[in-house]
Symmetry: C2
Subunit: 600 residues, 2 copies
Amino acid sequence: MSEYVAPLKDMNFVLKHVVGLEQIGKLPGCEEVTDDLVEAIFGEAAKFANEVLSPLNTVGDKQGAKLANGVVTTPPGFKDAYWKFADAGWTQISSPPEFGGQGLPHVVATAVGEMWGSANMAFKLCPLLTGGAIEALHQHASKAMQAKYLPNMASGKWTGTMNLTEPQAGSDLALVRAKAVPQSDGSYKITGQKIFITYGEHDYTENIIHMVLARIEGAPEGVKGISLFLVPKFLVNDDGSIGARNDVQCASIEHKMGIHASPTCVMMYGEKGGATGFVIGEPNRGLEYMFVMMNAARLGVGLEGVSVCERALQHALVWARERVQGRPLVPMPGNPKSVPIIHHPDVKRMLLTMKAYAESTRALAYYASAALDIAERSTDETHKRMNQALVDLLIPVVKGWSTEVGIEAASLGIQVHGGMGYIEETGAAQYLRDARISAIYEGTTGIQANDLVGRKVGREGGQTALALLTDVDKTVAALKAEGDVQLQAVAKQLASGVAEARRATDWIVTVFPGNAAAVNAGCVHYLMLMGTVLGGWMMARAALVAAKQLKAGEGDSEYSRTKLITTRFYADHILTKANGFAEALVAGADSVLEMQENAF
Amino acid sequence: MSEYVAPLKDMNFVLKHVVGLEQIGKLPGCEEVTDDLVEAIFGEAAKFANEVLSPLNTVGDKQGAKLANGVVTTPPGFKDAYWKFADAGWTQISSPPEFGGQGLPHVVATAVGEMWGSANMAFKLCPLLTGGAIEALHQHASKAMQAKYLPNMASGKWTGTMNLTEPQAGSDLALVRAKAVPQSDGSYKITGQKIFITYGEHDYTENIIHMVLARIEGAPEGVKGISLFLVPKFLVNDDGSIGARNDVQCASIEHKMGIHASPTCVMMYGEKGGATGFVIGEPNRGLEYMFVMMNAARLGVGLEGVSVCERALQHALVWARERVQGRPLVPMPGNPKSVPIIHHPDVKRMLLTMKAYAESTRALAYYASAALDIAERSTDETHKRMNQALVDLLIPVVKGWSTEVGIEAASLGIQVHGGMGYIEETGAAQYLRDARISAIYEGTTGIQANDLVGRKVGREGGQTALALLTDVDKTVAALKAEGDVQLQAVAKQLASGVAEARRATDWIVTVFPGNAAAVNAGCVHYLMLMGTVLGGWMMARAALVAAKQLKAGEGDSEYSRTKLITTRFYADHILTKANGFAEALVAGADSVLEMQENAF
């Protein structure tokens, strides 16, 4: 079994040259974020991921989390790893400094999060969800509530959860039924069942702080009557000590396709009369609060796509270099009868596909994270607003596209292994089983795509999307200005891709106001198109810098040469899908809308 | 859990109107193959698949086959089902009549095999492999050997296996090391280890007849020194009774991602001095014999892609009709606040993708099977030869393309279920886990694609492929001649697809002689392109008949209307990928060949 090694060269290069760490360092509160600091943090994180988290990935899959008598036991080694993680300060990386966090920008937390996800996706989910809960409390809770809970959550002493889904309410949260009854002391008695609660119960920490969506008695129907509550597993006394056990229980944990080490819980609130909960912010604004927090969580899940591309690639490379099978198609010294399979062009194509996906999804996720930092921290209002619009546009693309291609990469990883890939002991199958959930939770690809074509493109006349595509045009022009043959080839496919993206965006802007259903029929094609083109744009920006460095004799010349080849590969093998996505969007609505439900 | 219901309408329609059952009925030995007979057989098979095999699919996955003390126990109910299957005569369906088989044409066995695969893929593998062994013996064994083994294999009393793979010899059979030492009585002592042996050991039958590749002592190195042996688990006495236990043991069974009910065995030959084996046909021609038999097996595995598309679709449809979630995008009577998710265009798009894949892969697999029947049975030598060339071209496409899109369909099936799809109890995940192997065994997609571009296109100057594309042109012309708006739209995309296929074929014909490596770099793109275009051709042929029947007021009008819509969907959502595949093939070799193995 190979262990994960963080791709620090690419991470640092992308951050410095594609995203522009310099501009982040100029934001208020980010003054200390320099190349040196970031490289030092990445180095430590890489070590932790390699030495502590990666070796637990297989045992986590094999043994899984177990429930007995209401107690969830995580697989051997996970609790210990969690405390090493918390003690090293990793839970605090992007938490607010006023509650003990390090307040580092999203772009740094994103890169670090990529490493956790590559090394051990099931482990990563606990800090990811806690981060979401911290965000919700930081933005919306009263000062008193913050003071009571946030320091222990930021330090990792307690963890957090998000309780949205109920059996009848998945993507459609208007159907939430959990009930909250006001008490004379200002608290609420919460009752109801929540499902799919990640790390809803576990043995890492003494307390778990649940964020729970519920309806206050008498609240309006639908989404406007939902409030957000804090429901601790153990009540917390005023002096911060642990009080009585609250009326919330884990009734069962799911038997899932993957991420076995992450307990996915059915949570029962108020089976003994009502769990004590505290409303966060104002009543009836719960969904709005949830959605703000969800943006960060969606970015975190999109990142899982990046993580699996990288991890599956590394695993497949070890095998492709070791496994000797078949005559070489390209003449080789010594004329061997059989060669490591990495020599076969078709195998190299699969590995390059995984590599191109890893690097393009990485760059786009980092780019979106940087935009989020600017949107949150910039003092220039126009710059702030533009970046917020960019974040809103990019998040569904990062979430949807990266996870879809992550699944494809994990499946290719199996394919590179041939028959061995299907044997669980090889480890390749776990990446596909784990990754498969990422295109579903925190909003399926269809939900992301519908958000993209509706709120993010259709309703604003495509303004942000079209502006972004103009930026891509500039990159095409810059590529054309270079003499390099690789960059010329990239320019050709990127120009064609951006033309398809523009055609598709124009079509949505025209059709959406009168026929939202027609746009919904092809929304996933549009999301994949935008991911494909923007990913190509990221690769092209990196390739431009690499070409310049090569010319100037600067940087790591092997890395630069490989970046050029990988970008060329992306252009010819991946960007070439753009036409198909655009055509399917523009031509494909009629058959979908004509099909009657009972005719299947 | 839904049970499988065979799509008899589409099966019968495709067989009658797209493949042309009539021409099969005119072949020698097929005189009794009429519409009525075939419908009766399909009806019985459908009943068996629904009532006996489908209900065992989940328990097979959950409990799996188990090994203890050299004995493999299949999951509860499987042995009983096997004997019902054999007693009903299903093992004999296409076996030679002289050994008790029914000698039905491939096209009928293919359709029946689709049902077994949909209902219970892990079960199906045992008769599939036995069929391969029967084929090998029927074509190459001596009369005496045939008389001794074939009647009991055809009746299902004994099963058969294929033993090719060794730890160091997977796709590259030149590396086979298993050894055969001639004995004075004309038999051989076989020693060696074989891996990935499907149903290598089980508890269904009293005996198992292994087909084993091994090298006779002193044979030439490489592929020219490999012979094929029959090695029975129990030796068979001259009177046909069971004799001594042979020196072959199941050492372990694999822990796989899916098809848990199918024991995948490590087989040890000759641990106690040598297993008694009998050479089949002539020494040193084993690989050639294996490859003949493999054509049928590859068709059978390609069919697993068809089976999973259909099964995953049926399962997802039940959920999509029940699950109520989200407001309707299309106005509905009563203006409901939430509707079954099948009403959402994006969900309908996923279901239509699965349906379009099921119907197109089905038609192409049946079409290839009919060509195989003609190649085997026709008395017209030209017709025979042309159909053999067609079979040779189509088999890698059916195997590679159908299994790749089968995996995609199974993954979409999970996606339709949302979070529930990731929970094993829902059943959707099993289809993906089971189907994932189909793109690997009997030759990976890359191996199929390399065979296609090399032996089937490159070496014959694209003759068969280009002739086939001319047939597609004729269908385009026929579509254009119809006034129907759906057919016009289909014509447009099919014309564009066939143009891309021709461009890609011409490129291969030009480049292959001088640069096989460049062609290998994009061979999977070409395979996917050909599958996509030929699948579209099949859909278009069906749609033409459906349109004519609608006009004439004949046939099942609801089925015909749905076929037109599904074909239109295929054209706009799937055929539109053709450009991307062709472009990636033609433009994509440079980056793959330039990439150095150590640069990843």
